[in-house]
Amino acid sequence: MSAPPAGRSYALAPRVRWVQDADRIIVADAAGSRGIELRGVEAAVWSWLSLAYPYAWLVEHLALLTGTPAAEAAAHLRGVLDGWLAHGLLVPEAEGEAPAAAAPAAAAGDG
């Protein structure tokens, strides 16, 4: 499965669990049968996905994070997301659909 075009968003698969441990993120499916360790750029992308940032935001900020042109960042991101999609750690959001995870704080904070 190739990464969808820009504009789509991704959600972390419902059965996935993860934990931030110092400078790494450990991701496992709910059954605990598969786990991966993410560091560096991949950990950053996962962290941002957990906050429901859309694909375009991820590209823009990945470029800034790595100091690379947007096209290069987009290619890097596609590779990372393709891998996670293949492992069932991500599910694509339908175009135009709001992200499934909690929105960033500006839209939340209900009393």
Binding site: Q20, A43, L51, Y53, L65, A102, A105, G109, G111
Partner: protein, 476 residues
């Protein structure tokens, strides 16, 4: 010029609390013993008590104990803390202000920034600031980095925080530096955001003034609705997370009598590592809302009680000006080379609004984030100027026994230009709370309880202008 030794004596009802912070010494004694101690020290001489020293202190302090105190105080104490000098070394921390905007309308807020239209820091500014800070750490051989977030409410611009934390962690990691993250927040944030914070921050200072009736009255959201439910949810999430939770409560005249209740609630409803209590400072908003600063004596006594309750639960209680374990020449990051970046990219020594510190006649500007050049542009002369904002230039504090831990309080909001001993309410509550802490640490609980219950005795302690045992002041 010879400075009088840093030995202080304050009245505690009919007794005297001797306090020599640079000697690491405190003692409670009767007035006779204090007088004889003063005479012996004023007579000079070194080392142990001499044959001409005669101590007849009467019970409960024995002559041998006075002699031991004389010997200890005649020895040189530690050097007083000094301000930073020389080239810029390791900054105290990098502070980032994602925005001055906020989603709450606290009734005592003294931030004049617009709530919803304040500028927001760009990710580029954050990145250049972090890069510049890490280069400074490289240059001085630092072993760790620290980034703190302030506002307004930093999570009113959450994307800035999310980017800055991930970038700082990545960039510091490439240099082999662990990076500590701390944030001060109002806690009015979504659940997912709060869990992210709990996972990604080392410490969270959460503003929560007390149980729901207090929180909702003091700290409503924009539009006036209550915030207690959401903020309590945040406190619960942070309690269970891996970060250290610090609860920060602003205390008013109405809530000071409830300090023990508030402390008990904090300690049982949540799991903070520390609870900070601060006295409300009057603002136009607080006046309009009918919120008044606490009576200093009621606050100090309540803080003492709160501290004891929280200690029983394994939680530290802090009043920032009365932390007697500190030795400092400046109360806050100002003067410690903290680099605090505003949303506009200015680098300042203080996180308060520029109009606040300029209005106080201070210039906290250290430089600027130069995005075009990808560097921090800092003015060494400005760094030196700000370092001069320290205890040495606070005449009000000259003879106060709290000088080495309070250091005069906030440079912007608590002027110390008055005559020595011209104490205001913040000084009074600091002095009483500090003395209470020292008494508790000496195991003098009965004396502390009796004194704290006697307002006249508290006032005698608090208003004494010159605490120096050898400075002409002190108890008769």
């Amino acid at each position: 010029m010879t400075h009088p030794p840093e030995i202080f004596a304050v009245p505690i009802d009919r007794a005297v609390l001797l306090y020599a912070p640079l000697h690491g010494l405190a003692a409670l004694m009767n007035r006779r013993a204090a007088g004889q101690l003063r005479e012996a020290l004023a007579a000079g001489g070194g080392g142990a008590a001499t044959a001409t020293d005669t101590f007849t202190p009467a019970a409960p302090v024995a002559a041998t104990e006075v002699a031991a105190l004389v010997a200890a105080l005649r020895a040189a104490g530690d050097d007083p803390p000094q301000g930073r000098t020389g080239p810029l070394g390791q900054p105290y921390f990098l502070g980032l202000l994602p925005t001055r905007g906020c989603n709450m309308a606290c009734r005592y807020c003294d931030f004049a920034a617009p709530k919803t239209t304040s500028p927001v820091m760009s990710p580029e500014v954050a990145r250049v600031a972090i890069d510049g800070y890490l280069r400074i750490l490289d240059a001085v051989g630092a072993r760790a980095a620290e980034v703190q977030f302030f506002g307004g409410e930093p999570f009113h611009a959450p994307h800035v925080v999310h980017f800055a934390v991930t970038y700082a962690r990545l960039a510091a990691g490439e240099r082999g530096l662990p990076c500590r993250f701390e944030v001060t927040t109002n806690g009015l944030i979504g659940e997912a955001e709060c869990r992210w914070i709990a996972d990604n921050f080392d410490a969270v200072v959460l503003s929560l003034d007390g149980p729901p009736d207090i929180q909702d009255r003091h700290r409503p959201a924009l539009g006036g609705r209550g915030t207690s439910a959401a903020v309590m949810r945040s406190a619960a999430i942070l309690s269970e997370g891996s970060c250290e939770l610090v609860l920060r409560a602003c205390v008013s005249r109405d809530t000071a009598p409830r300090l023990p209740e508030i402390a008990q609630w904090f300690g049982t409803a949540f799991r903070p590592g520390t609870v900070c209590f601060e006295a409300l400072q009057p603002t136009p908003l607080s006046d309009a809302a009918g919120l008044a600063p606490p009576d200093p004596y009621e606050f100090a006594a309540g803080f003492d009680a709160a501290r004891r309750i929280l200690a029983g639960l394994g939680i530290e209680a802090v009043l920032s000006t009365a932390d007697t374990e500190r030795r400092q020449v400046t109360f806050c990051p100002v003067g410690r080379d903290a680099l605090i970046v505003s949303p506009e990219g200015d680098v300042d020594a203080c996180y308060l609004l520029e109009e606040s510190w300029r209005g106080a006649g201070l210039d906290m500007r250290l430089g600027r984030v130069d995005v075009a050049r990808g560097a921090l542009a800092l003015d060494p002369a400005a760094v030196a100027r700000v370092r001069g904002l320290n205890l040495a230039n606070k005449p009000r504090c000259r003879d106060c026994f709290c000088r080495h831990h309070c250091a005069g309080g906030c440079h912007v909001n608590h002027g110390c230009d008055g005559a020595p001993g011209s104490y205001d309410d913040l000084c009074l509550l600091t002095r009483v709370a500090s003395a209470a802490r020292l008494l508790r640490e000496l195991g003098q609980d009965d004396a502390a309880d009796a004194w704290l219950a006697d307002r006249a005795a508290l006032e005698r302690t608090a208003v004494q202008c010159d605490d120096r045992l050898l400075g002409g002041g002190g108890p008769a």
